[in-house]
Amino acid sequence: MVDQSQVEKVGIPTVTASSDQFTGLAKNTVKSLGLPDMAFVDVAHPMGMISLQEIRARADEAFPKIVQMATNWKPSATAVQKITPAYPAERIKFKGTYEALDKMFYDKGWSIGLPIIPPTPEKVAAMLKGTKRKPDEIVWAVPPRMGQLTVELVAAYGVMARCKPEHMPLLLAVVKALSNPDYDWRGNSTTTAPTNPVIIINGPILDELGIGYSTGALGGEMPVNISVGYFINLVGDIIGGSVPPEIDKSTHGSRGDLVAVVIGENEKLNPWKQSYAVEQGFKPTDNVLTAYSAYMGNINVDHTSVKGEELLNTMAAGLAGAASGVSACMTRFDRSYAVENAVRFAFLFLGPEHADTIYNDFRTKKSASEYLVKKTVLPLWMYAPARCKPPKEFGPYDANTPIPRFTGPEQIRIIVTGGPGKQSQIWPTFPSVTKPVSVLIEK
């Protein structure tokens, strides 16, 4: 709907025929973009994945309504918006036990199902001591609701998620990365897909704050990773308003949409020595986080490959099948998202043992990625219709011709993380993400 909203703003009226399960989200999107309403025609869901005959019948049924909305529609009158300052946040009194308070938060839509630490003014003031930024600074209007996130509220959400004052620079850097247009927060927080934020952290801050990067880094007993991950989804659902079933349309959801994926790179056990952040142009002493939105990750469990090529071959199998159905062939990183250029990069979270095996035969990460580009292929019949149209220079092909998923090494990004074991993870990106966003964590 963002696209039709822009068309309205350049002075051209629009009518949108929308699958009726998604009109609520569409109308909410329109309002969050500052338009009072737009002309919609509800069409019976589903519209996708039905036969040509069925979709044409739906068009026949919708046509009179489309003409009506095109020529005789007026927006409903909207109330004048009351302007309330974003700072200071409202203070509320409540009498009851902790359990009652926690329930009140959930009932009001101020928590997402896990217990919260009450954001009392004292605790929030203590959190604010972790940054020099002014509490009234607005750091993000969080889509889709466009709630105004101030530094004060970053501190409040930090308290709720059990963060500590020394985490404030990290939380503010997370907000900076997620709000970058390249991340496409709106699309990622409202899609039917099980997307979740992925935050990769590099630098001395890993040990300073005790951020998990070794055994079980994405599991329990990792208080900083968990608190930061919880913070992200509190922000997304509460001030951002991305709540199922009307706005967050994720068919199944995912646990990463409850506590986001936050992981450090195991820089000490990285055989290539250069961390991901250094590869992106930062200094080894910089504290850096990288954010992107991912589809659910899958796993490579390879206990038997001895050579680097053997291990990369099994890794390629997982990469090829990651985000199946939506992924396109011969994707290009330097071109923007399109149906035939979808899921343009993925991260590999290599366990250190797997990294060592690969390093023995591939002395640079780039050479490993180049090998994977060649080996990550699917026969044409395994791509969804319309997702794979090789260019002329590819040459002749038929349904059984192996066709690569990627075209360049920059599309397969490698970090080393986790502890001992023969395990790695594959995290493909959501299609509308332009690129991973790396930002400095500024103290």
Binding site: D3, Q6, V7, E8, K9, V10, I12, P13, T14, V15, A17, S19, F22, A26, K31, L33, P36, V43, M47, G48, I55, R56, R58, A59, A62, F63, I66, A70, T71, N72, P75, Q81, I83, A86, A89, E90, R91, I92, K93, F94, K95, G96, T97, W110, P119, T120, P121, V124, G147, E152, Y157, M160, P181, I238, S336, A338, P431, S432, V433, T434
Partner: protein, 133 residues
């Protein structure tokens, strides 16, 4: 006989009370006065104007816009047929055929603005879009 019975009763009461103590202490979690910060924040959105509406499709340029989702083009193809049949004076442009770079959900404002400008450049009087799922 009476004295041992009273003694047993006394011990039973004491032991029973002892067993109940932990649950009594849990049940005694005191309600307290809390002051908390409302985390919902406020919403401030700059209000924008809708485009002026049209009252007829006759002799208008109608641009059909597809966001790339399955069947949206098939839906709009049928709408194009119906427009040609019912409003022959209208000019119908299938954006998804004349500029395939627009067949997408833009994902960011810059791309969205670009698509809007492409449509404006075609002299559109109205856009009919399909948002399928």
């Amino acid at each position: 006989m009476r004295r041992p019975f009273i003694a047993r009763l006394f011990f039973a009461v004491v032991i029973g009370a002892g067993l109940l103590l932990p649950s009594v202490s849990i049940a005694k979690e005191q309600a307290q006065e809390w002051e908390i910060i409302n985390p919902a924040g406020v919403v401030q959105i700059k209000q924008e104007q809708l485009a002026p509406r049209i009252t007829t499709l006759e002799r208008k340029t109608i641009v059909l816009r597809w966001n790339g989702k399955h069947n949206g083009d098939n839906f709009l193809n049928r709408i194009a047929e119906l427009l040609k049949e019912r409003v022959p004076s209208a000019k119908v442009i299938k954006l998804y055929e004349v500029d395939k770079s627009t067949n997408k959900i833009s994902g960011n404002l810059a791309e969205s603005t670009r698509i809007a400008q492409v449509i404006k450049g075609l002299g559109a009087d109205i856009v009919i879009a399909a948002q399928t799922d």
